[in-house]
Symmetry: C2
């Protein structure tokens, strides 16, 4: 019987544990979870804070009882302190501060990521008590919910216009707050091209969100009842709540202290079996680098979907399996008000940086036959390789009802199989006039590229 | 310079012409079109008759002027009478009844399909004048619109519960008619499994449509102002309008008279270059059999999407190209009231008939994370091969908003690449809680199959 230890109770850790028990029902699988909230949907936090999901307990993918019924032993509120890879032992601190040592045959490190703290004067000395928040854990969520309800906050400044910043702008607006988003880069949602970001900015403005780009926040001050946020170019806003969401970095401390190698962009190095360089130690999720299937190289792409898949591979291999991680395409979608914005594969500059010869073509296509009522535009950007003809990446933006979130998946499967741009037209996709066109949006777009 | 003749002005014919002009801009491309409505969206007819598309002219994919601007010469209201393959000549009858002969270097036969006329007593002697309709052409559409507006009709009986029957039940209900659908088979929508058809029947009932299955209509009588429809088991209904839509058969008369070989299910035999056995004669669309990519064999699948693709291949090859038709998966979707019902690939009995070892598993999955408001069920049926593990087919049913129409495309691309059921879990699909789950609907379903 194998003794499997897993550090981390989020997507990667839970997936590893469940998969290990699935393929090896006699494995002893113990999860060391830093807080009391195993298997919570971190991606769901904005919808609790918006009020759309009133009970935070709903955010659990599975209940603790379900996890235990699946045969996972949970050590909640236990902090993993040290790995001894030679002795195959893990030291943990229990909720009372006592140290204990756990033996393992195999270990999965799923320590996730931690939010970046940008160099803003005042940020380190201010906290949730004054209405200054970072947002990554359920405890962060409770603190922010408290600021929203107890004070209550009326004006919010969100520092950072990435996915979480955008979702929180939507969430806090829905809740009735006046929201300003400040972003150091020239555009919101830097994961898509500026042309699409401009449409997002227009939607934000349409919903009353103030967007300030090209502006680095330099200071947050708390003066009596208010917060004052100031930055480059004379930026100055007062607020009751400041949310700093400028990205994450992999949490690698535990593993690197034990000698684990660092790979792409500061994340733990793993092979496609999710093995670290330490014997018997696997790692998965936001703490590791990610094999990118189009790049055929490692990068850093902390996404829940990837964490699930990597965790599943790590868990299976930790009990003797031989599964290979197929790779990520960076497929992602975000809902911002009524819009869905999605991407998969490489953007132009990413392809160029990898030595490819990309061409990117913008195309706007109706989501269904124009004669049927309610047709709306889908904005597509197709990136292909001019030398090989290979599809490299697709970005899409449209109203939620245009099905962008699922249309991007068609492109993702095509990328998975390294299809050429031209061959996309050969795909047999569904059609009925109220829901599509004989040449689907993606096909119409690739035909424009060709 | 090549002289290309095309017989047929619907999806396959137009696609052939446009593609030929695209790859060989100097080709002389002439289309012989039997009516005055080239490039009309036949699939859109129900939405004109429902009143949702008030102007029938909107149903044109392209205007006549657009087609001519693309370099296509159109001979409208010309009937192709005879092919002389040895002399490479086509005889046509012009609108005045005069015969003329056209020379060609290559010919594309895109004569489409004709509606089946089941052996119902009275059907041949009754016509649109009495409110008895078949529905395939624009002229059929005008006749039916006339019945709907001039009489006006209040009660309709639809004979046949396939795609068109279902869409017309939706359309005529929307228009305020009381609708009865009669089907000889034990279920509506025989293109999907009975379990899904039962959900469609419930939706029809919920919208006040009467569904009578297992009942063959045997007679239609016209008595004064009313029509009487009677059938097996004492079935008898009065109506102002009877629509007979029980399927189509390939219209092969022109080509077979010239010596063309018949292939699968009575359709013209073509190879994957869309060549018939006649020198210089290609054929495409609803008149030909279709290479099925999962079956790796020819079958008959008259679908607009396929007609477009086959026409494109035929047109390119008719001017010297060497394109191969990639094959159909039978991907299709239909909207019936608020439901979308989709399928791709093989159903259980089709796979079994082909000598495969199918297993079909039903799974019901939420379209997005249950905690986010508005989650709805998607009913999925996964058919896989128990011997090879290969995915064979997927059926899905859900509310339109669940994205079934595009989710099926993910499965279609997977089938295109002959993926195994298990490998579907490796696909990097998009996720955000309001629009999906970390394991997408299709992935959750295939995991249940495995």
């Amino acid at each position: 019987m194998t003794r499997l230890l897993i550090v981390g109770g989020s997507d990667a850790g839970i997936s590893a544990g469940l998969r290990a028990r699935e393929v090896a029902p006699d494995v002893e699988a113990t999860l060391v979870v830093a807080d009391a909230y195993p298997n919570y949907s971190i991606c769901g936090i904005p919808y609790h804070l918006s009020g759309e999901v009133p009970d935070w307990r709903s955010l659990a993918h599975r209940s603790q009882a379900d996890l235990e019924a699946a045969g996972l032993e949970l050590l909640l509120c236990h902090t993993a302190r040290q790995i001894d890879p030679a002795a195959r032992k893990l030291t943990v601190i229990d909720p009372n501060g006592a140290e204990m040592t756990l033996a393992y045959d195999t270990l999965v490190v799923a320590t996730g990521a931690t939010p970046l703290r940008p160099p803003i004067a005042g940020l380190d000395s201010l906290s949730a008590a004054e209405g200054v928040h970072l947002l990554h854990t359920m405890d962060d969520t409770f603190a922010m919910a408290d600021t929203l309800t107890r004070r209550p906050a009326e004006r919010a400044v969100i520092v950072g216009a990435g996915y979480i910043g955008m979702e929180m702008a939507d969430a806090l607006s829905l809740r009735g707050l006046a929201v300003t988003v400040v972003e150091a880069l020239p555009q919101v949602l830097p994961t898509v091209d500026p042309e699409l970001a401009a449409l997002v900015e227009a939607a934000l403005a349409g919903h009353g969100v103030e967007v300030v780009t090209d502006t680095t926040v330099t200071e947050i001050r708390h003066t009596g009842r208010e917060l004052h946020v100031s930055g480059a170019g004379g930026f100055a806003r007062s607020a009751d709540l400041v949310l700093v969401v400028v990205g994450v970095r992999p949490d690698t401390t535990l593993a690197t202290a034990a000698g684990a190698t660092i790979g792409a962009r500061g994340a733990l190095a793993v092979d496609r079996r999710m093995r670290t360089n330490l014997p018997g130690v696997y790692a998965a999720g936001d703490c590791v680098h990610t094999y990118h299937r189009v790049l055929d190289a490692d990068t850093y792409l902390p996404l829940g979907t990837t964490a699930h898949k990597q965790g599943r591979v790590a868990g299976e291999n930790a009990v003797g399996g031989e599964r290979t991680f197929a790779g990520s395409l960076g497929t992602q979608v975000v809902k911002i008000f009524d819009l869905a914005i999605a991407r998969t594969g490489l953007r132009h500059h990413e392809a160029a940086a990898a030595g490819l010869a990309p061409r990117t073509v913008p195309v706007t296509v109706d989501d269904h036959k124009a004669y049927y009522p309610g047709a709306q535009s889908v904005h597509v950007r197709i990136t292909g390789d001019t030398e090989t003809g290979r599809l490299l990446g697709v970005q899409m933006l449209g109203a939620i009802a245009t099905g962008v979130a699922k249309r991007i998946d068609t492109a993702a499967v095509a990328l998975y199989h390294h299809m050429s741009v031209e061959e996309i037209s050969d795909l047999d996709l569904s059609y009925t006039p109220p829901l599509g066109s004989p040449w689907d949006v993606l096909q119409a777009a690739v035909q424009a590229w060709a």
